[in-house]
Symmetry: C2
């Protein structure tokens, strides 16, 4: 039975990422073991009704058995509800449950639940604890670890946010068996990302797998390896650069163009992971055109994207002027220069602030359907 604990040692907060099959039913005792729950401890589980129906009862029982005083707060599902208005709902529940400074929120769900709950925790009473219990692969390998929290502004994703590290992250691979196939594939884009930016062995592992497009075909062992290696990569990078002042920017590989693509298509045509997959392919193509990495490696990356059955072609009707305009309003812009993460080899990327617009344009065109 898979059980692994990855320590995250940050200057102001040390915590653990616990990867444990069936761990959700043990959340109470896992928290007890870490000294994170005591009798009467007030906890507020934030989730959406669909996820809560699946996993809520077990989690609530487990927390009640650990002696906690638990309430729940259900918020609407979906990125379009990741707004200040939904945040207000969480605040209202925090007030109604009379959370104190020693209380904590428990984020049970995917990235939207995790980001918003994390931000609510960062800003309620000037900061209370948050325990991340991601239920999607994307949230497990990405959003739940590292302390980035936020909500969307009508004109951009995550423009409103804060860094707020969780007290614990619990990853239970069992929950992935109910994950919709499209969500699973999208999350695999981030897994491929870790292979390209940090962990060549993970990349090899993915290349050697027979099937990568369905979670149920992976087998417990491969799934476990993917989770452990991806989480470890994220922890490594975050530990070296908690506040994204340098290295952490490499986690945005594929994201600069991915965000632009999501935004132009009004978050309807592609989900986040699909857009990131296309963003990685474009970044790889830019790197090839700038002489930074080889066509062979770019084609290996393309093959992995196709093996996962992620979209590998940019929409043919996309207006590239709009893409370039949008890039310059990305929050990662520094001194007016768009920042790209570009691969140099499998497992290694660089940060580049001087990509000529013509190369961006040409790279995307070469990938258009």
């Amino acid at each position: 039975m898979l059980s692994r604990s990855i320590p995250v040692n940050l200057p102001n907060q040390a915590y653990k990422v616990v990867i444990q099959a069936g761990g959700q039913a043990d959340l109470g005792s896992i928290l007890q073991a870490q000294g994170l729950v005591k009798p009467g401890q007030k906890l507020l589980v934030v989730s959406n009704s669909q996820i809560f129906r699946h996993y809520g009862p077990d989690i609530m029982d487990s927390l009640l058995n650990a002696g906690a005083d638990v309430e729940k707060c259900l918020i609407p599902a979906g990125e379009r509800y990741k707004t200040p208005k939904t945040l207000q709902k969480i605040y209202d529940a925090a007030l109604a449950h009379r959370l104190e400074r020693g209380s904590a929120l428990v984020a049970l769900g995917g990235g939207v639940v995790g980001d918003m709950t994390g931000f609510a925790a960062a800003t309620w009473l000037r900061g209370i604890g948050v325990i991340q219990v991601p239920t999607s692969l994307l949230a497990m390998v990405d959003a739940a670890i590292g302390g980035k929290t936020g909500v969307n502004h009508p004109q951009g994703k995550n423009l409103i946010g804060a860094f707020h590290q969780p007290r614990l992250v619990l990853i239970d691979p069992h929950t992935l068996q109910t994950l919709p196939r499209r969500e699973f594939r999208a999350a695999m884009a981030e897994v491929i990302k870790y292979g390209v930016i940090w962990d060549a062995e993970l990349f090899d592992l993915l290349e050697n797998a027979l099937v990568l497009d369905r979670v149920e075909a992976l087998g417990d062992d491969l799934l476990g390896q993917i989770l452990i290696r991806s989480c470890q990569a994220k922890v490594d990078v975050v530990t070296k650069d908690e506040r994204e002042s340098g290295l952490r920017a490499i986690l945005n590989y594929g994201h600069t163009l991915g965000h632009a693509l999501e935004s132009i298509t009004q978050y309807r045509q592609f989900n986040h992971g699909e857009a990131v997959g296309l963003g990685m392919l474009a970044a790889g193509e830019i790197a090839v055109r700038m002489g930074l990495w080889t066509e062979v490696d770019q084609s290996r990356q393309m093959q992995l994207v196709e093996k996962v059955k992620l979209p590998s072609a940019w929409p043919g009707d996309l207006d590239l002027d709009t893409v370039l305009t949008l890039l310059s309003s990305d929050k990662k812009v520094k001194d007016g220069q768009v920042r790209f993460i570009l691969p140099q080899a499998i497992g290694q990327v660089i940060i580049h602030d001087q990509v000529p617009p013509a190369i961006i344009r040409g790279a995307i065109q070469s990938l258009q359907a």
Copy 2:
């Protein structure tokens, strides 16, 4: 000419509190000297129209002369606009001015402007810089220093907030000459507070002053001493406990009951400082009744409050049951126990979690008009 720089050395951020007569007109060069502005640096000055009319033009000129790319954002004046909705206005201006991660907000105004601008800076792009330029005595000696930021929830003050240290605090005593008298007196409550909780010499200074109820009667020297000693007290306490995990709670002397009083009277009858003054008198009375400090010291505190011409009697028609109910919803409640800061001597207080409700009731009754 008064000019003093108080260093604030926090683990993750060191900054200076600059107290300088006429300093506002030099803000640009003061920032340059600290390396906080460079050519093209994007800054957004947040203020309200009344304050901006007085001080905005000089500040903008000074920042422009330092080479910054400056815009302004005016928000409505008053505590009742310290809301998520007003915050949204600041976010919109940040977006319109295309602030980047290296950009900063400049909070020009009193505590409301400072708290909201600080919170906007804490949460825009997951945290950008903020420069605090307080224009009221209350903001100078209290809100602008120490990194507490926030907005109000309909059911409580500052329930939504974050710790976010400024990059610099500039205090220009010249701006106090236009401060309404009632505001000045209210702020003096916080000055008396520093005398009681931390600095017996400051208390003596206040006792020896001939007049304390009008800023124009103080003279530059006494006003300068009051500013320097009060800011130093706040810096001392904040440096020892940035996140209010222990010592910093002493800054809430008078605030537990003060907040309750403000809230019950719907923020109409008393301003913050007046309520704090009454809260301090009640805390002192509680301390006397618990045998913690002397009636002589309580009467010295009472005399200072009266010398400043702050209200010294609690409203006669106040329902004490409501007060006690409200206390238990204060965000400083820990494990259901209301936390009081109680004086033991001039310059020395303790934190007390076990004050019997009957004593709270009796202390307030003895102060009712």
